[in-house]
Symmetry: D4
Subunit: 163 residues, 8 copies
């Protein structure tokens, strides 16, 4: 069965990136999460990215903050689809992370999600949507999740003015 | 065989978005390009997005500029993976397009590429990378493209000082 | 009598959007507040926007955050005036919300207010100003509110240096 | 019949602001265009804004660039709805104009449109949408315009790859 | 003797603007502080600005936040030098205030200081520097303040590493 | 009689900075323009700024682009009022120049004008407004200029739609 | 032995700048930390920068916030390499500091590090890397630090989902 | 003798990056320029960076645009000092390049210069300043260049008003 890799530059990115993991888990998609730092473990990055296809991964979700080079560098070493998650940074709130990830030159692509937890969750969802192209049970789980999400919005709308 | 849809808000986006088409063509991936405007043809958007899976598309590439709602609204109406291309806008150079596309809330995902032509080309590449998960000839074409790209860089480096 | 709709993408927008409601209430303008999510309930959005005129609404106030597509998409489905409220977002403080709402292409208009609570209150005021074109009691209430606002500024100015 | 005022800080804003005029003209809405500068003719501004309702205007469209104070200052002197158009500025491409117009404090509202010509056209459309609340011929003209706009998108889509 | 006016859009600006007052007080420059809102008391603004020279003020310090029109509008109604203080705003941290104040068109000038308390204090200093052109005791006080400031930096440098 | 210094970091700033000179000339205020570079002639900067008061200058106008340190460094070496002009820069259009000039820390003030030519002209106007506090002929010239400016706006408004 | 100077505009910058000191200490590189303010002690700045080479320093690390002129002005007075640290500022989170430091004109260079503590630490590292060109023990210490950093990442990756 | 490497992501960066080369040449510092792309030749990057010290380079100057990963990734693979040049990008004028290069996390440093040609020239200057720590002839050349630069400013100031 298809398997998704979740990598991040630092354990401090895990509170954000586990949103991707939770989403994948909810859809029944297998995943592995690892710390791989573009700057501190650059050789591990190469090794990981070059073997990811052979390890059986179908997609790679990569999250990093600041001068966030991890998603783009992984994409440079694999033909698998890579989805990038800009982690919120201290000074610039993730605008640096976003631009560092999304503004890739022609020829190496990173599908980038929103800054922070919402984006990480959506990376999990998007990876599941890719997996669903080959797996009907994941497709059904996504359709059910989306329907449930719609139903929740339509039931919960209790809008009363504060005093 | 897998087929990719390329949609855009206006024919004026085509010079940008045809970069996606050219990339898909280079990899031998079938595609269809259409104008679907979130704001001017909103019902067509719903109709297109809701039937895209049944029409046999595997991925949707959507490009728009300014308050760019097309990619996110298509994603809201389909379980297929959607890749968004921020088209360069007149006043803000595509920063508005980028933020309008990438900052999606949790639950509906758009994998966003760079502003302008490089991003559109990479949307084609990323869609091909997704198709390649099920199609070895596309996978081989991508690997060859990437190798060729590497070779070109390594041969072309003629760096002489201007007088 | 004229009625104003207040819609928002999520109940989490209500603390902001109820400022619009309070303003309308203060002017004696009838309103209804609903949660309608562009991304999570896209069909409800179409249904709501297409029937809003027939339901007797004169204006629609729509608030959303991040990649805020709600105001523009509602405007795409109705000929009623739409006023947009950029809700403050987590990472980018509502700059993304603002650009996603205000930078609409020619042909579909959203009158956009300031980011956050002040903007939501002003959406209520602006909608009341539109209603006042046909309703003298609302017009008088607005004129009185503005006069009162002026008086308050002129009476309250106690400016003493802290020690 | 309802009449709309179009004011701008300088004749140099007219190439932008005439888009509003053209839109109103297309819908058969009467309008008057004037130069009123917040900074160079501040007394004229007060006089204009305070008499606009009595002159028979229903809405005011105001455009300005840079530290764009015209729309907000007009709104401070009238209870009529004011729509603001950020004119593209030399150094900052209208981002300064946009923030100067849209970020109004609670209590005085300006419904703001996009930077530049698209926004000016939409100010005309939005003012017409307000007028249409009391004028069925304008309402019909808007509905026809929107339908025509939809039809144009759906017919014009000739998307062929450049060589 | 020369007198400086300090005006601000709201009492909520006083914690910032009193820094200007404190600076003037420290230099022995007479000042008066008032709340004058561009948007909520526009007629008071005109009255204040037009009579400021006759009231004996030499400079006007004006502070406001968000779409900050106060400094520029005061400058439009007087030939006295006007110094503008961008007050930190909720959503955009005063970037909107800064651009709304500083980006004045040719012909009406506002000398703008930094966002927040440092800028307000410096507005007081700058006004005192202007007053000092005609008042030797203020000039001496400024020179002494600057010398003292220099001395303080040179004495206080206790730089030890935290454990 | 009072005299104003205009300094700039490079002769390439002169097309911008001469707007200040022209404004002063129009008001009959004596001025001297010099190139003084914070980075390339730092000792000249110190010498110029420390002797400016003794040379008989009343105000200093300083223009620079990019990491624009000239206005602030001159202010650090004199008790005279300093007005700063952010020159438009190549990559960031003067946003870097603006922030480098305006965001001065408490204790050393620079009254900052708009980016580019409008700001330079206004620096000349503001310096003249300061000079006018002691010179009635300059005051009259400013009042006449402002009245003329008002008259020009009110006469020139030829607003006709393009075909 | 080579010695590095760490200077900063204010003692309030020390919590940030001591990260540079700690890094140098860890590599066994001698350093001296001083407060030198571009704006409040401009003559001390000149004196310090002009004598730094003779005092035996090989590199200078300079940190400042807001309109941060210290690094560039020091660079203007010495031929030693200068590394600049943008300290996080109150209103703009250090974006102003960054642009004020990095956007130097051709002819005077500042090697700029990231905003805040990470950048200050890296200024220490970069200075040590320069020292290491002439000092094998520092070179070995850097190589060991980097290896240790790699090892730490590879051992610490405990990634478990929160409940 | 010390040697400096100049690397860049693409031959299209050479017009910018040759400014570094020209500066080094002017100081008599030996250099080699190569195209090494982080994304298109990632293995060449590793190979180059890991062998740079053994090849006899003392510093590495790296330039790239957009999501500019080259400088940071080279720094991750070497203990030599790395100086980064943000090349001006199409949509965002190099702001993306700047943030991608400068916002490095603690532990891997890149000394970043200004966006575009001025920054590239300064990278050459800064590298020469590092080389000069061990090479008196380069030191003398830098001191002469700086003196010459000062003299040029002081002689060239021909400031006459345009008609």
């Amino acid at each position: 069965m298809a398997k998704v890799a979740i990598v991040m530059g630092s354990t401090s990115d895990w509170p954000t990136m586990q949103q991707a993991a939770k989403m994948l888990k909810a859809f029944g998609v297998e995943f592995e999460a690892r710390v791989v730092s573009a700057h501190r473990t650059p050789n591990l990055l190469v090794e990981f990215a070059e073997s990811a296809a052979d390890e059986g991964f179908s997609c790679i979700i990569a999250g990093a903050g600041g001068a966030a080079h991890l998603p783009g560098m992984i994409a440079a070493h694999t033909h698998l689809p890579v989805f990038g998650c800009p982690v919120k940074s201290k000074a610039l709130n993730g605008l640096d992370s976003l631009l560092s990830i999304v503004q890739m030159p022609k020829g190496v692509a990173v599908g980038t999600l929103a800054i922070g937890e919402a984006g990480a969750a959506n990376a999990g969802l998007l990876a599941a949507q890719v997996v669903a192209l080959q797996d009907d049970s994941v497709k059904e789980a996504i359709i059910a999740f989306r329907q449930n999400q719609t139903d929740t919005v339509m039931q919960n709308a209790n809008l009363e003015l504060d005093e």
